[in-house]
Symmetry: C2
């Protein structure tokens, strides 16, 4: 089976690529060829057991998406997106990539004809939801995004469902919670502190906490994000009916609970590296975000996340720190 990953240079795309190269198969079907695509060169794992071709272009430019589906891969992961902050800062770029690009891809699949009907796994986001919320957002709560990014993802979900209903492809949309602990360096994302207050102390560095300890949020590990993608790729479409977009499960915790989990795993010394520095701007952004989900439908379809925030920290230590905590 051939596989195409759009957005392969991002954190989740890279981890998905490594996992496929390691496991050589997906749902019992051997992988024969992998195409990685992104606007910057995606890293190619060495010694992969199948050919991997990396390609770099702007997939929203008319004609580019056609090239990507020319080999008619039966499985496409569409992870490519302009992220929230950039889509808000650059209206045209966000709509061009996140809406037009997605539509170009879907239309390119349609243009193939020839009974080509791939599984398309699309990463949506909890940014499709906008405050005010109930205590836990259930599977039938309406989408009122408060960012252009969330709007574009919600439109992508609608297109995915309609193209699937029309038999053009077989789509599954998954709304990822905040991925935590994000590896790498601190970044400027408003949500960055959720990872930072765990990652930086474990790296021997100070972390800044800009919000009160009672802020609640939902998290899943990078390993879970990849699990979600693979489970979505293997899911029987008939179980989804016409409702193709799913809120993924996660661990809903307060910042205080995150910190206590860190203390239990790594001790007071690590916790002491978290410095409280309230930032009203970040607090205002965070107040518009969902806190908790009742992701019953995804769970009943077999999607699994961690069961505690401690488990999320342990996965970070295993996957990013070779299993050991520094001092």
């Amino acid at each position: 089976m051939e596989v195409l990953i759009l957005g392969a240079a991002g954190m989740v795309g890279r981890k998905l690529t490594e996992r496929l190269a390691r496991e050589r198969q997906l749902g019992g079907r051997g992988i024969s060829h992998l195409t990685l695509h992104d606007v910057v060169a995606p890293p190619v794992p060495r010694d992969a057991p199948f050919p991997i071709v990396a390609s770099t272009s702007d997939f929203a430019v008319p004609g580019e998406a056609e090239k990507l589906v020319a080999r008619q891969p039966p499985l496409i992961f569409h992870l490519a997106a302009i992220v929230s902050g950039e889509a808000e800062a650059d209206f045209d770029k966000g709509y061009r990539i996140n809406l037009d690009g997605t539509r170009e891809l879907f239309e390119a699949i349609r243009a193939v004809g020839d009974n080509y009907r791939p599984r398309v796994v699309f990463t949506s986001s909890i940014a499709v939801f906008g405050a005010p919320f109930p205590d836990a957002i259930d599977d039938e709560f309406f989408l009122t995004p408060l960012t252009s990014y969330g709007t574009q993802k919600a439109i992508g979900e609608l297109l995915l469902a309609d193209y699937t209903r029309r038999g053009i492809f077989d789509g599954v949309g998954i709304r990822l919670p905040t991925i935590c602990v994000r590896p790498g360096k601190p970044n400027k994302a408003a949500s960055g502190f959720f990872s930072g207050i765990i990652r930086e102390p474990l790296n021997g560095q100070e972390a800044v906490l800009p919000v009160p300890d009672n802020v609640r949020h939902t998290h899943a590990s990078p390993r879970s994000a990849v699990n979600f993608l693979i489970h979505a790729a293997n899911l029987d479409g008939a179980r989804l009916g016409n409702r193709r977009n799913l809120t993924m499960p996660g661990v809903s915790v307060t910042v205080a609970e995150q910190i206590e989990a860190l203390r239990r795993i790594a001790g007071d010394k690590m916790v002491a590296r978290i410095r409280r520095d309230p930032d009203p701007t970040i607090m205002q952004i965070v107040e518009g975000w969902p806190r908790n989900f009742d992701a019953s439908r995804a769970r009943s379809l077999g999607f699994k996340a961690e069961s505690s925030f401690e488990e999320i920290i342990r996965i970070h230590i295993e996957d990013e720190l070779d299993g050991a905590i520094a001092n």
Copy 2:
């Protein structure tokens, strides 16, 4: 105040035009100029108290929408759409007009700049909802359209909300229930019988009822549809916050209740003109439609529909039959 109506040749567009010409004002602001637009020539009322310019073009062709907003009308009614059946039969045409056309209009407004920020009233549809439903669909139920038309309207709603949030215009989206009694000749729409079983008997003709008497549906009169548009045009946008799309109220009745209302108003002789001829295809389509809404939010914002189906029939007799029932 200048007003622009897109989709002015349709039934609701024509009734809105007549109403504006008769009332000369909207929310206390005198109307100085009215532009009517459609893909076919919209009828222009005679003796209107202000200039009316009718224009005919395909507004989804790049450049056309710019011409329409060149006079910077502070109020735009966007009623233009490829209807449900045609959008389902012609995938490209539906997306080109209902999605691309709407986006061309919104982008044309954005391109004006110059602090131009019109009120845009957009007609959406209950086709944004798809079965299975709760008994009454509330204001926070999610959108899972089961037609391409419903998908395109749902995308229009999302764009309307995002462009409004961005300050590009001041949008209000209204989801119309089934308009009943639709004047004119019988048509091939699957929903046509809801009007036909009232209209045809009152015209001395036989009507065909293709579904069982216990089918429930929500209706509002053409007069209410125009009232909704005018109320949406006058509404204080601050009362809507970021949630700009509203399910309109209506009268939820079974077909049996429709028929009994006809009997009370016009007698057994009229009811005898309804011939039952079950059609499994139409029944299947109708089963996917919403039956009932809890339109609390629209009601609390002052939108009003009829309070009984009898009232809907009386309005039809007043507005379309000069107040008299033939024999």
